[in-house]
Symmetry: D2
Subunit: 329 residues, 4 copies
Amino acid sequence: MINLALFGAGRIGKIHANNVAQLASVNLKYIIDVNQASAETLAARYQAQCVDTATALHDHSINAVIIASPTDTHADILIQAALAQKAIFCEKPIDLNSERVDECLRIIQQQDTLCVIGFNRRFDPQFAQLKQAINQGKVGQIQQIGITSRDPSPPPIEYIAHSGGLFRDMMIHDLDMARWLLDEEPCEVYANASCIIDPAIGDQDDVDSAMVILKTPSGKLCQINNSRATTYGYDQRIEVLGSQGMLQANNNTATNLCFSGGSGIIHEKPLHFFLERYADAYRLELAYFVHALQEKNINCTPNAYDGLQALRLADAALLSLKKNAAVRL
Amino acid sequence: MINLALFGAGRIGKIHANNVAQLASVNLKYIIDVNQASAETLAARYQAQCVDTATALHDHSINAVIIASPTDTHADILIQAALAQKAIFCEKPIDLNSERVDECLRIIQQQDTLCVIGFNRRFDPQFAQLKQAINQGKVGQIQQIGITSRDPSPPPIEYIAHSGGLFRDMMIHDLDMARWLLDEEPCEVYANASCIIDPAIGDQDDVDSAMVILKTPSGKLCQINNSRATTYGYDQRIEVLGSQGMLQANNNTATNLCFSGGSGIIHEKPLHFFLERYADAYRLELAYFVHALQEKNINCTPNAYDGLQALRLADAALLSLKKNAAVRL
Amino acid sequence: MINLALFGAGRIGKIHANNVAQLASVNLKYIIDVNQASAETLAARYQAQCVDTATALHDHSINAVIIASPTDTHADILIQAALAQKAIFCEKPIDLNSERVDECLRIIQQQDTLCVIGFNRRFDPQFAQLKQAINQGKVGQIQQIGITSRDPSPPPIEYIAHSGGLFRDMMIHDLDMARWLLDEEPCEVYANASCIIDPAIGDQDDVDSAMVILKTPSGKLCQINNSRATTYGYDQRIEVLGSQGMLQANNNTATNLCFSGGSGIIHEKPLHFFLERYADAYRLELAYFVHALQEKNINCTPNAYDGLQALRLADAALLSLKKNAAVRL
Amino acid sequence: MINLALFGAGRIGKIHANNVAQLASVNLKYIIDVNQASAETLAARYQAQCVDTATALHDHSINAVIIASPTDTHADILIQAALAQKAIFCEKPIDLNSERVDECLRIIQQQDTLCVIGFNRRFDPQFAQLKQAINQGKVGQIQQIGITSRDPSPPPIEYIAHSGGLFRDMMIHDLDMARWLLDEEPCEVYANASCIIDPAIGDQDDVDSAMVILKTPSGKLCQINNSRATTYGYDQRIEVLGSQGMLQANNNTATNLCFSGGSGIIHEKPLHFFLERYADAYRLELAYFVHALQEKNINCTPNAYDGLQALRLADAALLSLKKNAAVRL
C-alpha cells in the first residue's frame, strides 16, 4: 500500500484526489491546504486527514506527495519533499523562475528522487498513440510539426496577472509536447504575439494570441499557435509531417452525432473544458506515477528536467518576442 | 444500501459485477452460477458469497437480482425473483419463446415488480443523445429511420445453434432501437435474408445477412440491415430523417488520429468488440436500474413489455422471411 | 461529322444541346419541339434548324437522335427513329407501360439499333469509380447494397400526376443503379411506402416516402430508400458491403469549406439541384453515346433492355406495395 | 472580339490557350515562342499564327497579351506590351528582382495598363468563397491565419537552380494569399527553413521545408508552412481564426468515395497535380482578365503592385532566414 499526501485541495487537487481513489493499493492519507475548509471537505470525501506540511513530510509511512498547490509554493514543497525522501508528482510549472527550477532539479538529482511533472497531455490516449506511431516509424523521419492549442475563453484577469504570461502558463504545454514529439532538443526559438482578443490582457503586459517556430539541430521545424479564445470550444490539434506520411490528432467530441439541416451538415464542437478534454490524461498520469513508484523506476518522464527545459523554451519565446529575433539555445 | 444477487458469472456477468462495484450504496452480496469455479473466482474478486438460487431469493436483505445466466434460465429465475419481491435486471431476451415471455410479463405486473431489460444500446451516450434530440424536436416529425448493425465476425457455430437465430439473437437489439426511436409501435414487418457469409450458419438453418422494413400506423418507415461479418470492425450506425432534418449516429473509434500516406487518408476503424463499444452503455444501464430502485420508479424502461414487443417483432420478421410477405401485427 | 436531331427543347433538352456543343465532330442539325418558341430559341443558340419529326428522320445525313421530349412521346419517336436507321439516345423512361417498352425493344433488336437510355447516374464520376472498384474486386463478393436517394423538395403536383408515380419516376434510377452494381438480376422485390410529407401527393394516389428490398438468386440483398423532400438538399448516397470491405459513395458539395462556430462544426450541404449534382454525368453520357456511335458499338449500355428491366422492377415494387408481399420476378 | 497574343507555348501556355478557346468573343491570334516547334503545334491546334514579338505587339488589332514565357523574359515582354498599349496577363513572378518589378510597375502606372498577375489561387472557387465569407463577416475580426502548402514531390534540380529559391518560387503564392486574406499589409516577416528532404536541393543553396510568421500592424498573425514533398499528394489548406469563428479550406479530392476495410477507413488522397487541383482557377483567372478588359476595369486585382508586394515578402523571408531575425517592412 502506497500512502500519499496531497498538497492543494483546489480544482486540480480534487481531480487528483478522485483519480487516486480509483487506484487499488494507494491510500490518500493526508490533505494539506492553507484553506482549511477546502482541505476538510476534500478529506472528508476520501477519508483522509488534514495536517500541516511538516506532519505530512515527517510521517515515514508517506511514500509520495502530489503537489497541486498554488504555483509559487511548488518549489518549496518539492524541495522539502525531496529532502524527506518522498516520491513527487508535481503540477507544472515547478516555478516560473528557471533558476529556481534548476535548483529543484539539482536537489532531485542529489536525492535520487522519483519525480513526475504533470504535463498531462503526454498521457492523453490520442497523443500517446500519436507518439507511439511516430516511434514505430509510421511517418518516417519527422520534418514538420504543427500544434494548434486554443482555449475556449480567457481565464480571469487576476489569473492572468499571476500566470507568468501566455508562454509560461499556456504554451508551456505545447512546448513540452513539441520537445516530446520532435525527440530532439530545439536549438532555435522565434515567437511573435499580439493582444488582439481582450485589451485587459494587454494591460497585464501579456498577449492573447501567439505563434512560435522552433528548429532542431537536424533541421526539423515546428510551428505552434495559441489563442486565449475561440467560439467553438477547446481546440487541441497536432499534425506531424514526415518522410513517410502525415499523422493528425484531431479534436475530441462528446459523441459522433451529426445533424443535416437547412444550415448545413453540423458536427459537434470539441469538448469545451480542459478538465473534460483531458480527463483520461489526468487519470493516466497518476496511474503512471504510482506504477513508476511501485517499480522504483527513477527514469520516469516527464520529469523535473523536462519541466526545466519546457520553461527555458517558454522563456526563450518571451525573449524572442521582445527582441523580435530568434533566440538560440 | 442495496443488496444484490447476481445470477451468472460468465462474460456478461463479469461486466455487471464490475459496474456494480463502481456504484456507491450498492453491495454485491451473492453470486449464483452452476459453474462453481466461475462463481467463486468472481465472488472472491468482489467480496461476494457463492450461494444457490433459493438462498439468494429467500434472503430478505436482497433487494434486487441481476439475471445474466444462460438465456434458457432467464424466465425461471425471473419468475422466482418476482414472486420473492425482488427488483429485476434481466439480460435480453427474457426467453426465446414469446408465450413464455408473456407469462413472465403477467407475473411482473401482478407483483408490481420493478424490472429492467438489458437493451443496453438505449443507454449508449450517443444513442441516448440522439433520442433526446428527437424528443426535443430536432428532426421534426420522423419519416424514415435506417439502422445498420453489423458484427465484426460471426459467433461460434455452437452459439448460433442455440441463439434462436439472427432475428431473435442479433436484430432484436435493432428492433428495440427502432421501437424506441419511432416512438410508435410498428404494425407491419417484412424481412429478407441470406446465408452468404458462412455456409455453416446456413447448416444451422440460420441466416447471416438480413434486411427488414418496418412500418408504423402513421406511415413512418424503418429499414434495418444486419450482417454477421465485416472486415472493418463493429458497425453500429443509425440515421433518422424527419421533416426538419436528419440526425446520424456514427461509429465510435478509439482515437481521432488520421494518417495520410501513399494509400490514402486513413481514419481508425470502429471499436471492434461490442463490450468495448458499449462499455459506457453497460455501466449506465446498471446505474439507471439502481437509481430506479432507489426512487421506486416502477415505470422504468426498457421493461418486460419492451422485451416482449421486441421479441414479437423478431418472430414476425422470421415469419415474414418464411412467407416472403409482410406480417401485420 | 455526326449529325444529330434533338427532340425536345425543354429543361433536359437544353442540357443535352449544350453538352453536344462541347463535342468536336458532332453537329446539332435539327431541333424538334411542338413548342415552336422553345425550339427556335434553342436552335438559334446552337445554329440548328427547327423542323418537324418527319423531316428530321427522313434526312439521310442525320446519324442519331436524342429523345428528350415528354415521356408519352418517347416510344413513338424511338420506334420511328429505329425504323429510319438512326442511332438513339433516349431519356428514361422509354414509356411508363412495360409492354410498350417491350415492343420498342423488339424493334430495336430487329433493326440492330444502337440505343442508349439516359440512366445518367451510371456516368457520374463517383458512381463510375465505385462500379470500377467493385469490378476490380475491391469489396470482394457483394453481400449488401444500400441506396439513399432523396430529393430536396417535391416536384409540382401536376408533374406528380403524370409521372407514373414515385417508383417509375424516381426510384427507377435507383433500381437501375441496383441492377448495375449487383451485377445480377434481382429475383424478389418488396416495397413499402407512405405519403407522410405532403397529402397532396397522396391525393394523386402516389407516395412520397418509400423503402424497397431486392434480393438476387445468389442471395445478395439491396435496400433502397426514397424521399421527396429533405431540408438539407439532394441526398444521393450508395453503400456496398462485400466480403473484403465496404465502399461508400458520399454526397458532393460545392467546396470543402468548413466553419467552426458557436453552433458547431458546419460543413456544406450537398449540391441542391439534380442538374448541378449530375452535370458531369449528363455530359459524360452524351460523350459515351457519341463514342459508341463512332465505334459502332451496338453493345453499349445502359440500353433499351436495361430500360425495360428497371421499369419491370418499378412495376414489381408498385405491385408489392399493393399486395404487401414480395413479388418474384 | 478581343484579339490575344500568347507568349510561351509550354505547359502553362497550353493551359491558357485551352482556356482562352472556351471564351466566346476572344480570339487567340498569335503565339510567340522561341521554340518554333512548340509554337506551331499549339498554333495549329487553335488556328493561331506563329509570329515574333515585334509583329505581335505592333499589330493594332491585338488588345491583350498573355505572358507565359520563361520567368526571365517576363519583365521585358511586359514593358514592351505596356508601351504598345496592350492589356497584360502576366504569369507570376514578374521578375525575381524586386527593383526590376518596381520598374515594370512604374511603366504600367504611366501607361494606365490593365494588368493582371497570375496568382491563380485567388480564383480557386473554394478560396474565393473563403475570401467572400471573410468579407461578409463570417469569422468576425481576423486574428490568426494558417496556410499549409506542400508539393507532392520536388521539381527537377535544374528547375530549382533557376527558380529563385523556395520563397520566391513556391511560397510567393502563399504570401500573396496571406496578403489577400489578411486584408492588411504585413509589417513583420520571420522565416526559418531546412533542407531535410533532398540534399541535392541544399546543394543549390535552397531549402525544401520552410515556416514563416507574418504580423500586421493591427496584430493579426499568420503562419505558413511549405514542403517540397509529401507521400499523400498536393496539400493545400487554409485556416482562418477570427473573433466569430474559424473557417477551414480543405483539400479537394477526385471523388468522395470511402473504403472501409482491414486497414482502416480510407478516403481519397488530395488531387495530386497542381494543374488538376487548380484547373478551375486557371480557367477563372483568364475569364476575369477578359471580363476586366471588356469592362475597361483598370483596378482589377491581383495586379503588378500585388506581384511586387508578394515578391518583397518573399525577399524579406529570405533575408530573415539569413539573419535569423524578423524583418520589418
